[in-house]
């Protein structure tokens, strides 16, 4: 087949792009009609135009703003990452102090009660039975300070620390709706309605960390892990897991801190 020279390639391109005047257009079209090679070139060039294709961004709700300049759900990433870490440390501090109070009170109880409390705490089944006394869905901070006896007080304090309400922004909540299965599974472990701290903290860090420079983030992650490890060691929590993962699509460290308390499991992940 005859090769079409670049001048004609450009003319055909201009024709398809709409760059020619009506007169030039007619002239080129006439020439194309006469020449089979030009016709072939025209047909092939026309095939390079992309056909309309619709995509839907499923996370629009997280972008909407409230009228009157209300709280902006979309935060500066660096600020948000820092805030997320603050949330995590805040949560851990609450765990620490509440647990310490529980421990202090526990010292005054009999050994039997102590063992029973620990056993109950380790068993999700028994733990859920405790919810018959306190409806976790209706828990608000301070509701459980007026409990009947010291034994209940300890148990309820455990419940309180698991149920301190934490705000979940639409962005945070919807982030995992569109995430990969690994992340969804991580959250599925902790996103029960009575465990908002864990849900919020894990999502906050995971969702907002991506934009930080990975070296800074890695450094932050290890600081976080070391502090967390020390804090958890002081708490003597029943199960603490730390693990580091590598995220395939970014090739950057995905550091995961997993803290399991009797009823709550926090999985804080720093990823790129």
């Amino acid at each position: 087949m005859k090769e079409v020279n670049e001048i004609w390639q450009m003319k055909i391109f201009d024709l398809l792009e709409g760059n020619l005047s009506e007169k030039e257009k007619q002239k080129v079209l006439l020439q194309i009609e006469k020449d089979e090679a030009l016709k072939q070139e025209y047909v092939m060039m026309k095939k390079t135009y992309l056909e309309p294709e619709s995509f839907v961004f499923s996370d629009k709700n997280s972008l909407y703003k409230k009228q009157g300049g209300g709280f902006a759900f979309i935060l500066n990433n660096r600020f948000a990452a820092a805030a997320s870490i603050a949330i995590l440390f805040g949560s851990l501090s609450i765990f620490y102090f509440l647990n310490r109070n529980a421990k202090d009170t526990n010292d005054s109880l009999s050994n039997t009660q102590n063992v029973e409390s620990k056993l109950n705490a380790k068993s999700p089944l028994i733990s859920s039975q405790k919810q018959q006394k306190v409806d976790l869905n209706n828990i608000r901070i301070g509701h459980h300070l007026n409990v009947a006896n010291s034994s209940d007080k300890i148990k309820n304090k455990i419940e309180i620390q698991d149920a301190i309400p934490a705000p979940i922004t639409p962005k945070m909540a919807s982030f995992y709706d569109n995430s990969d299965s690994t992340k969804t599974n991580s959250v599925a472990n902790i996103s029960t309605p009575d465990e908002p701290i864990a849900y919020d903290t894990a999502i906050a860090i995971d969702a907002y960390a991506p934009r930080i420079d990975y070296r800074k983030k890695r450094s932050l992650a290890y600081k976080l892990l070391n502090s967390g490890r020390q804090m958890i060691a002081n708490l003597q929590m029943p199960k603490v897991n730390f693990k580091s993962e590598k995220r395939n699509d970014h090739l950057l460290p995905r550091v995961k801190m997993q803290i399991s308390t009797p009823k709550t499991e926090i999985i804080a992940t720093l990823i790129d």
Partner: protein, 162 residues
Amino acid sequence: MTADQFNTCVNSHSDALFRFAMKNLKDYDEAMEIVQSSFEKLWLKRNDVDYERVKSYLFATAYNAMVDYWRRNKRMVEMGDEVQNRPAENNKEYTGLKKILENALSKLPEIQRTVILLRDYEGYSYDEIGEITNLNESQVKVYIFRARQTLKTMLGNLEALL
């Protein structure tokens, strides 16, 4: 820009912006992130950005974010790491013009792919594409021409094989 106007922009442009990022990166998470961060920047700059030019601003912001992503990924590849989620995959079988074109598009240089996407999907003029990509009108036209020439050759070769 008011919150209402911003929300209108979300409704009008987020799908197109997501398509632009997805077609360029082939990475769902990254595309979502780029759309989020582009709107985030728009909101932060809402008092400076002309409402009439919001779409261009969003696409320019997304494009810059993608350039960063490509640089970051290239650095990683140079460091010897393995990229598992990169856009172009050579081992897939493509059938039908749309699939062939999709495959060919993913193999174009990033700038050529970007100008083609902006031209064909968004209907931007050369001038507008130039504003988004920091190129002049002539450069845009040349990139589009080269991209179409490359696509045409790839289509010809692939069609001949099928």
